[in-house]
């Protein structure tokens, strides 16, 4: 397997960043429309795994663009307007798992999956933390409010989604990599 450069942004990265963003937007809209039961009044968005997985597979820049642009496009299509600090939070959620992209040899090894899970957790906490803290700047809410109203409701579902779906995507991607020899 070729050695990977972490911050490279060549043709492949341009394409995968675009695909990641489009996938995030489509899956976010699709799962909104499907109304997954048992989620109660908490908004579960399984699409958040896309920036995390694209980060792990293709690097931090691709992860960041997938999250930032994907959230932006999804909001544009759903008609929610433009909330740059949440776009940024989603971008960071893809960027941080991407920091391990260069060190992964096999996507299905337990060590790689564990490393990816740890970085996904950090990415979710930091990304959603920054987005939630930005609400203090924008809407003047205090720390307790952003914790209860923004941080916890966004972190908990994203953690559940990320921890379950990222390993599944990594195992499936390992088969694709082995088959194509890329």
């Amino acid at each position: 397997m070729k050695s990977k450069s972490l911050w490279k942004f060549g043709t492949r990265e341009v394409v995968y960043a675009a695909i990641g963003a489009a996938l995030y937007a489509v899956l976010a809209l699709a799962t909104n429309a499907l109304q997954i039961p048992s989620a109660g009044n908490v908004s579960f968005r399984p699409a958040v795994v896309i920036p995390m997985f694209f980060g792990v597979a293709f690097g931090p820049i691709v992860g960041f663009i997938s999250g930032f642009l994907g959230n932006f496009i999804s909001d544009q299509i759903a008609g929610y307007g433009f909330w740059p600090w949440w776009d940024l939070g989603n971008g960071i959620m893809g960027l941080i798992p991407g920091l391990i992209a260069a060190s992964i040899v096999s996507y299905k090894s337990g060590k790689s999956i564990l490393k990816a899970e740890i970085f996904c957790v950090i990415g979710i906490v930091v990304g959603m933390g920054i987005a939630s803290l930005s609400e203090m700047w924008v809407s003047g809410a205090d720390m307790k409010t952003v914790l209860v109203g923004n941080f916890i409701p966004s972190v908990v579902p994203n953690l559940i989604n990320g921890l379950i779906l990222v390993p599944l995507l990594m195992i499936a991607y390992d088969a694709v990599v082995s088959r194509s020899g890329r």
Partner: protein, 292 residues
């Protein structure tokens, strides 16, 4: 699943501006409004943002969903911030202040509820409405009034790198294709007995059930992406600046709005910093007198 863009031309004043001008104006507005907590200044921004919003001539049926989201956000902020936690509101509102119900609120069975809501915090809630309402009005109309074909060239001409702008352009073009792929996969899985909406499972099982949809769509896209990247490499992508299908040109009105944007940002900065220090949280005298 058919994914369609929300945009269609409204032949409005807002749409007659160059998209770059609109983004710069909207971002200048965002940074300006967030410098203020004084309701008198916020009222100015509130009026300005709604004048801008109405210049887009969007219909209520289009923006209703976005306004619902904003209402939920505002409700959560104000109910939790002002009514439940009774916190210091991010350090904006000074501690203490006159209570609206200093003797508490009598409840049934002789219970007295000591409710710590002050006049200052109530006024702060109004400021939050003005500030979040202004920002929402500025940005909510964008999906309905900005042509998605122009996003790539707009951000390229604003100054983001060519590859990044192209990635954006590609993402916008790829959305309908992926929407179709998602539908095909969903139908194929349903034909095999897949049920996403099974009710008697917990949340972890529900998320795991998403996998038969997410994994094939993602892997197919990655495989297709290799072909796109190869085709682009064969056409020497990235060796020279890209030419864009649509070109943007500033008109006189764009320069005017850009000047207003710059003026608004500079004036906001000047007003809120040394030596003037305007724009801090302010409570009208009548409210404090009423409280006393």
């Amino acid at each position: 699943m058919i994914i369609t863009w929300r945009y269609h031309s409204h032949h409005s004043l807002m749409e007659s501006f160059d998209p770059r001008t609109r983004w710069i104006f909207s971002l200048a507005f965002l940074f300006s409004v967030t410098m203020f907590w004084d309701a008198r200044f916020l009222l100015f921004f509130f009026v300005l943002s709604f004048l801008w919003y109405f210049s887009g001539r969007t219909r209520w049926s289009e923006t209703k969903r976005g306004w619902m989201l904003v209402s939920i956000l505002l409700f959560t902020m104000i109910v939790i911030n002002t009514l439940i936690t009774g916190g210091g509101a991010g350090g904006v509102v000074p501690e203490g202040g006159r209570l609206i119900w200093p003797d508490g609120i009598p409840l049934p069975f002789g219970i007295l509820w000591h409710f710590g809501l002050t006049y200052d915090r109530l006024w702060f809630a109004l400021c939050q409405v003005l500030r979040i309402g202004s920002i929402s009005a500025m940005f909510l109309a964008i999906p309905f009034t900005m042509d998605p074909r122009l996003y790539g060239v707009t951000f390229r001409r604003i100054g983001i790198p060519d590859k990044l702008a192209y990635s954006m352009e590609l993402a916008f073009r790829y959305v309908p294709t992926l929407g179709r792929d998602f539908s095909t996969t969903y139908d194929a899985q349903r034909a095999r007995g897949y049920e996403l909406e099974r009710l008697n499972t917990n949340i972890f099982q529900q998320i795991a059930r998403i996998a038969p949809l997410v994994i094939p769509v993602t892997m197919n896209s990655i495989l297709a992406g290799e072909d796109i990247a190869n085709a682009m490499d064969l056409r020497c992508f990235g060796t020279r600046p890209r030419e864009w299908l649509y070109e943007l040109k500033f008109q006189r009105r764009d320069y005017f709005l850009l000047a207003i944007s710059a003026l608004m940002l500079i004036a906001s900065f000047a007003l809120t910093t040394f030596p003037l220090h305007f724009g801090k949280f302010w409570v009208p005298a009548f409210l404090t007198a009423f409280g006393g």
